[in-house]
């Protein structure tokens, strides 16, 4: 019997390649696939979908993906995903229906929920949870009426519970991405979750896997041109051992690459204080991570140290924060940049003339310096062939944003020449959803688990 398990990361976000899970399962010799669908803003979108239709509120891609994996499920593959969003039970039912269509009966789907605390916010606040913004310290009262989603980040424990209960597929709500990877290790190796050294190792594996192919050669800054076959990039795999060490690798038959440089870039991704990486399962010291080569496309990770978890869960809330819109026009040679600057001047004058209540206006010259601003020196303006002029505005009032949307297209007839690229109609107001991170005592929420079967 082999003494390791292979965990493949088959989706880095909702919108990742739809055929990646099947590719990874077929070529990666994986025991588990983990799929991450939830970004911070996703929960608010899902809340609205469920408000319109109570059967929705989950990542609707996932049931189809599960169906496409039916042959692998027959061979024993296990799948863990946070695709449940704010309706994990609905998602699990859709998965079972999809599997039934593929002729697969008797699959146990574990469900983890209890993270959606939107309806409980008033009660939680009354009981003393302040839920102040952990970045700015602001009290929640100011935005409470505009909150559209509120979810606790649970860790690995409830996922381990349903895996131990025989689940082959696990669908969660808002669990940490790292918990999706730690849980199968704890389940397969019988790790006690209060062994924080082991929990820390599994969490580091989860951190490396959570953005899919960013750990196997995608978005690689050191030497992107040397990465083989990005069109069929193999998503990353953690080959985990009972002692807590693991090897980062990828399917041999697919593109991409796994080197120490690739893994280092993912170690630092979205990292705060490296000595104090906080998950609900433990606190990890990322300066303890040791990397070593272990053959082609194999990097061994060891030495990870961790300590006791904190007494708090992180809560992620989303609230309505006004309206925005944006649009672009393309100016060409001669004097492309000069014309785009003139377009800006005209729009500024129009905003003043119409007395639009805009609290933020951004002008950008794509192709020139939109991303790096004043860090860019423009050596020879006359040689610039094309500039995409972009404008974006924000207001707390919908009508100001809507009125501004009428101002872009007229520049084609009313403004500087050699302009094109206005298509798709007037820019329309879109509601802005802002993010409110907070902490809540762990005693104030508990995960709920269930196992469904067809």
């Amino acid at each position: 019997m082999k003494d390791y398990i292979r965990i493949g990361a088959a989706q880095g976000f909702w919108g990742d390649r739809p055929d990646a899970p099947v590719d990874l399962a077929r070529h990666g010799d994986c025991d588990y696939l983990i799929l991450d669908y939830l970004a911070e803003v996703t929960m608010s979108i899902l809340q609205r979908q469920r408000q319109r239709n109570p059967d929705l509120g989950y990542a609707t891609d996932f049931p189809k993906v599960a169906g496409s994996l039916a042959p692998c499920l027959k061979e024993g593959l296990k799948i863990i995903t946070n695709a449940g969003g704010i309706n994990p039970i609905g998602c699990a039912r859709a998965v079972l229906a999809e599997l039934a269509k593929e002729g697969l009966e008797g699959v146990k789907v574990g469900v983890v929920y209890g993270d959606d605390i939107l309806d409980q916010l008033p009660g939680l606040i009354a009981s003393g949870e302040e839920l102040q913004n952990m970045e700015t310290g602001e009290p929640l009262e100011g935005v409470l009426k505009r909150v559209v989603s509120a979810n606790v980040y649970f860790g690995a424990a409830p996922i381990v519970d349903v895996l131990n209960g025989g689940a082959q597929i696990v669908v969660t709500g808002r669990c940490t991405d790292t918990g999706l990877a730690l849980a199968p290790m704890a389940h397969a190796f019988g790790w006690p979750l209060d062994d924080y050294r082991l929990a820390a190792s599994g969490t580091v594996a989860g951190h490396l896997l959570e953005c899919g192919a960013q750990a196997s050669g995608g978005n690689f800054s050191a030497d992107w041109e040397s990465v083989p076959d990005l069109a069929r990039i193999g998503y990353p795999i953690a080959e985990a051992y009972p002692d807590g060490t693991f090897v980062m690798t990828k399917p041999a038959g697919l593109g991409g690459m796994v080197t120490q440089a690739v893994i280092k870039e993912q170690i630092v991704y979205e990292l705060g204080d490296p000595r104090n990486y906080i998950s609900p399962d433990c606190v990890i010291d990322f300066t303890s991570i040791r990397l070593s080569d272990d053959g082609e496309d194999r990097v061994r990770v060891s030495g990870v140290r961790g300590g006791d978890p904190t007494a708090f869960y992180k809560v992620s809330m989303a609230y309505k924060a006004g309206w925005r819109t944006s649009g672009t026009l393309t100016y060409t040679w001669p004097d492309a940049l000069k014309k785009a600057r003139k377009a800006r001047e005209i729009l500024e004058a129009r905003i003043a003339h119409l007395d639009l209540k805009l609290d933020d206006v951004v002008f950008e010259y794509l192709g020139v310096n939109a991303c790096h601003g004043s860090l860019v020196t423009i050596p020879d303006e006359a040689s610039i062939n094309e500039v995409v002029f972009r404008v974006a505005v924000h207001s707390m009032e919908r009508k100001s944003v809507e009125r501004f949307g009428y101002e872009l297209a007229p520049l084609i007839l009313d403004g500087p020449p050699s302009v094109t690229g206005f298509a798709g109609g007037r820019p329309k107001p879109k509601e802005v959803i802002a993010y409110w991170p907070a902490l809540m005592r762990k005693t104030a929420a508990s995960p709920v688990t269930d196992i469904l079967e067809n």
Binding site: N219, A261, I267, V268, Y269, S374, Y435
Partner: protein, 114 residues
């Protein structure tokens, strides 16, 4: 005797990845060689990084050293106009701040450039 140096971009001796954390961007800068890491620790001070980014960083810059992987992690506070879903810019999540960091020009010892 002082070693000869050449004016080059940070890109030549380091690689990097950036991402958003609320209103903050983090940029992890990784030495391309073991020899380059002590030099990066010496010259890439938080103050220098703050000055380099100019108007792209509204708040303070913090640096954390990761000797284990030869990397420096910078937290650029107040860089995303209220956060990645609110910021109006094309790069609302600071994804290209890593590349912006690597633009930095430095007097680099020739021994690190071979």
């Amino acid at each position: 005797m002082a070693e000869n140096t050449r004016r080059e971009r940070l890109l030549v001796i380091a690689h990097a990845r950036s991402g958003d954390k609320g209103d903050m961007v983090n940029v992890g800068v990784i030495a391309r060689s073991e020899a380059a890491y002590p030099f990066l620790k010496k010259v890439l001070t938080a103050e220098r990084v703050k000055a380099h980014f100019g108007e792209l960083v509204g708040g303070q810059v913090e640096r954390f050293d990761m000797d284990n992987i030869g990397a420096l992690n910078f937290l650029l506070h107040g860089s995303l106009g209220g956060g990645g879903t609110v910021d109006l810019r094309t790069d609302a999540q600071g994804k290209t701040y890593a590349a912006a960091m690597l633009r930095m020009e430095l007097d680099i010892p020739e021994s690190l450039l071979d």
